[in-house]
């Protein structure tokens, strides 16, 4: 069991002793009863921290913003930030460490296990209590969530509302933390790659029809990119507008700027964008599911990333986000890597 009071106490201590600049954790949004990311800067504010199944956000993203802030400010506060992490978030931090994007000293990890279940999917939850204003969701043991709505409390089987990623979670506890609450359990109720496997059995044309229908919906809002803790490049390769144009920039330089992909949301460019994103996340995506949650048109983006995760595991025996000291997937190789597809 995660004792929330312990988390608040630790947060208070860290802030009072000045060990961290702020704590990034979850607060409750009184309007809909769900958690929202929040910044705690004073010890007395620490009591607002919450931990419940609606803490589905991946707060590791804020480490990217934090690094940018330090680079931008003249005299930045270089103390670490405290970050509340669950299993998937901690794996994202591991990948950021692995890529040397951040240093271990930049962050104090307050780890919370997912209480042997996981977090909810907003859309599934809305369907489970249709039309009811949500007040609070609580963990209720291994198989249930306690959902309080305006009509009172109901018990909902965890399997009905768990986020898809939690059904395939390789480890629902933080793999890296400075402070940890809760049990270390490994359970993937559905199997590690359950969402990908049935899809692989489809024929080429069925696959294509599926993805064309899905990716055609994309409006190229780049919400998936903005919410992703791994999409931290200062200059994204799919942006065609990011040539720094100064008075000295010649017409030739502007013309020579490679436009890999056009901005217009047409089929070919949408597909290009999502394929590039999937490839750039291969061996880096920790399956926190944020891209899919943020997507305004419900594209099953996890499918693409999960496929890459599966190939990394089956072809190269690579587990994403467990060891900060191993090299990244495509910056290493083994002599026995499969090459049956090469003539």
């Amino acid at each position: 069991m995660v004792k929330l009071e312990e988390l608040r106490k630790e947060a208070r201590r860290l802030l009072a002793e000045g060990e961290v600049r702020c704590i990034i954790g979850y607060l409750r949004n009184p309007a809909d009863g769900k958690a929202v990311p929040g910044f705690i800067r004073k010890p007395e504010e620490a009591d607002a921290l919450v931990w419940d199944p609606t803490c589905f956000h991946n707060l590791a993203r804020f480490l990217v913003d934090e690094k940018r802030r330090k680079a931008r400010e003249k005299n930045p506060d270089t103390r670490p930030v405290g970050l509340v992490v669950k299993g998937c978030d901690s794996r994202a931090v591991v990948v950021l460490l692995q890529e040397k994007f951040i240093e271990r000293g930049d962050v104090v990890l307050l780890g919370l296990s997912c209480e042997k279940t996981g977090v909810v999917d907003e859309r599934k939850l809305a369907k489970a209590v249709p039309g009811r204003a949500l007040r609070q969701v609580e963990f209720g043991g291994e198989e249930e969530f306690l959902v309080t709505t305006e009509d009172g409390q109901v018990r909902i089987p965890a399997g009905d509302v768990l986020a898809d990623r939690c059904l395939e979670c390789p480890a629902n506890f933080p793999v890296l933390s400075d402070w940890l609450q809760g049990e270390k359990t490994k359970r993937a109720p559905a199997g590690l790659f359950a969402s990908v496997e049935p899809f692989e059995a489809r024929s080429t044309e069925e696959k294509w029809d599926f993805w064309l229908t899905q990716l055609r919906k994309c409006v190229r809002c780049y919400a998936c990119r903005s919410v992703c803790p791994m999409c931290y490049c200062d200059e994204c390769v799919v942006d065609t507008i990011n040539l720094a144009v100064t008075p000295d920039t010649t017409a030739e330089e502007k013309a020579q700027k490679i436009r890999w992909v056009e901005k217009s949301p047409v089929d070919s460019e949408n597909i290009f964008y999502h394929l590039v994103r999937a490839l750039h996340l291969a061996g880096r995506c920790v399956d926190c599911g944020e891209c899919e949650r943020a997507c305004p048109v419900n594209i099953p983006l996890r499918q693409l990333n999960k496929k890459m995760e599966k190939e990394a595991k089956t072809l190269f025996g690579y587990d994403v986000g467990f060891d900060p000291d191993t090299p990244a997937l495509i910056s290493c190789f083994r002599d026995e890597d499969p090459q049956d597809f090469i003539r």
Partner: protein, 140 residues
């Protein structure tokens, strides 16, 4: 009047082995289909997945990446990285429903002009029945 479909193939050939292999095929006057547009790169390891997607995006019907045999890389291990990276590209392209024959990889050494011509012949044979690649192609 219907003309037979002639696939357009973009071949990324590494400078040290495959490109020399294709050169050997040329100077030895071996015959092979003229459907291929060779692009010389310094190493197969330098090929970004973007190049491949981009080739399809601009209308290639097939893409071939060819490098040195494992152990023969001029840069010691560039082709080993390529093997890993491009395996992922291939899996992903198949996952979204592109025909697996459209993207192929081969090891061709500087002495294997014969093998190079055979690879191109086979590739053209495989691509002809598939028809033009329209899935990833940009429509202007």
């Amino acid at each position: 009047m219907t003309e037979e479909f002639e696939p357009k193939i973009v071949a990324f050939l590494c400078k040290w082995c495959s490109s020399a292999g294709s050169d050997l095929a040329g100077v030895s006057r071996m015959e092979y289909p003229p459907n291929v547009v060779p692009i010389q790169v310094m190493c197969s390891g330098s090929i970004s997945p973007l190049y491949i997607l981009s080739a399809f995006n601009r209308g290639a019907d097939g893409v071939l990446v060819s490098g040195c045999h494992p152990g023969d890389c001029h840069y010691i291990k560039g082709n080993m990285y390529a093997r890993r990276k491009l395996a992922l590209v291939k899996k992903l392209l198949e996952h979204v429903g592109l025909e697996s024959q459209r993207f192929q990889m081969s090891w061709v050494s500087a002495a294997e002009g014969q093998k190079y011509t055979q690879i191109i012949k086979d590739l053209v044979q495989q691509l002809k029945p598939l028809g033009p690649q329209t899935k990833l192609r940009r429509i202007d």
